[in-house]
Symmetry: C2
Subunit: 261 residues, 2 copies
Amino acid sequence: MRWMRYEADGAIRYGIVEGDQVLDVKGDPFAGYEKTSTKRALSSVKVLVPVVPPTFYAAGLNYPEHAIAAANKRGEVPKLPDNADIGYRAVNALIADGEPIVIPADATERVQYEGEIVAVVGKKAKNLSEDEALSCLLGYTIGNDVSERSWQGEDRTLWRAKNTDTFKPMGPWIETDLDLDAARTIVRVNGEEKIDFPSNSMIFSIPTFIARMTKYMTLYPGDVIWMGTEGATENIKHGDTVEIEITGIGVLRNPVVREGK
Amino acid sequence: MRWMRYEADGAIRYGIVEGDQVLDVKGDPFAGYEKTSTKRALSSVKVLVPVVPPTFYAAGLNYPEHAIAAANKRGEVPKLPDNADIGYRAVNALIADGEPIVIPADATERVQYEGEIVAVVGKKAKNLSEDEALSCLLGYTIGNDVSERSWQGEDRTLWRAKNTDTFKPMGPWIETDLDLDAARTIVRVNGEEKIDFPSNSMIFSIPTFIARMTKYMTLYPGDVIWMGTEGATENIKHGDTVEIEITGIGVLRNPVVREGK
């Protein structure tokens, strides 16, 4: 099942995607819902981010080749993370499928995509074992962890490198029935494929993160966990279109503009 | 004016504190409100955190003696931050005035208080100058940025060191008419004063942070910015009570318990 959040008739709604239509529900997938009889063409609604998370978690370095590429760029000896230590991103930066990534006027040219699978929490959870971990999830969506690499290297925190407004495209919907082991993450810029990797080839798995996180923290419905990206990443610039596809979920597509251009 | 959030008659409400009473309003201080005629004794309502922030910002190192004390403990040469680079905390960790700080069973004894003034955003804001910056605030409240120092030193991120459930007491209310330059932050453990410092003696001022943040980010109503603490901090343990007073706001008081004790 695919859960979409959208604006139609001046209201924010959840619905179930069926082909090129979406079926309105009363309620939402977290607190409960009832199907209605209203179907709308997907092309007629304004797509919104599939959820506004209470807490926005991100794994950061969690794929081996990306960790090595990042260390090489800094001129450091690659060192994989020792533990599944989660990080954070910020809600202000979220944009929906189709909305523009806006590069600030004073950013360098080193603004890069990062295609990521996103786990969406469906139920309140504390102290889950690895075996139980996936039971708290509603499903999966797609994220693009856009990053300004000069700020990422120079600032004391990741605040503007990762959390500038529009730097966190997420969507287009939440897929509840994904075969995680079969899924592949594919990044394209202007239609040209940049990387294609198994979405689940992580250093620390989703259950490992959730078990470790819920030892100390309560997860809440709507929390999202961005799982990191693989490989070296490349610059994106004004006029580009970035697509992150995860097979079995869909495609997250955003144009890129530079402020003042 | 003092804005309090609380549970009464099974509903979550905002109200205006008047002495030892609170006046219910319809609505809230962010979207708009109307006063009602219902007054309640403060002692009769369940105090909640004064706001659940869309984004939870924290300045981190922002007072000179705390920055020096922290560096000394790590055996490093003290270096003050170069820029007002904001950081983040997590909503799961928030608790209200009076609720217990719960130290996990596997934490070391190095769990410490940090008394902080908290700026509460009242209006959507982007691209504010330093002169305009304070105009986006609704007011100020009090935070205790409880920290497990061994995890803070060893983990890759601050996730459990700073964001374990219950590690972020905030409240008891939002004061809209604070004289920031006159305010003092006082920390007491079991009634014994640990530190007393001018709340506004920051390395980077609140306007400096807001101007720099809003160059890249939109602030939203309810966002909170924790401004950091001063001085060396000490351990707190099972059975202690921690009070953070900010003169002109009030007192945030929380007992401490250790899990399994």
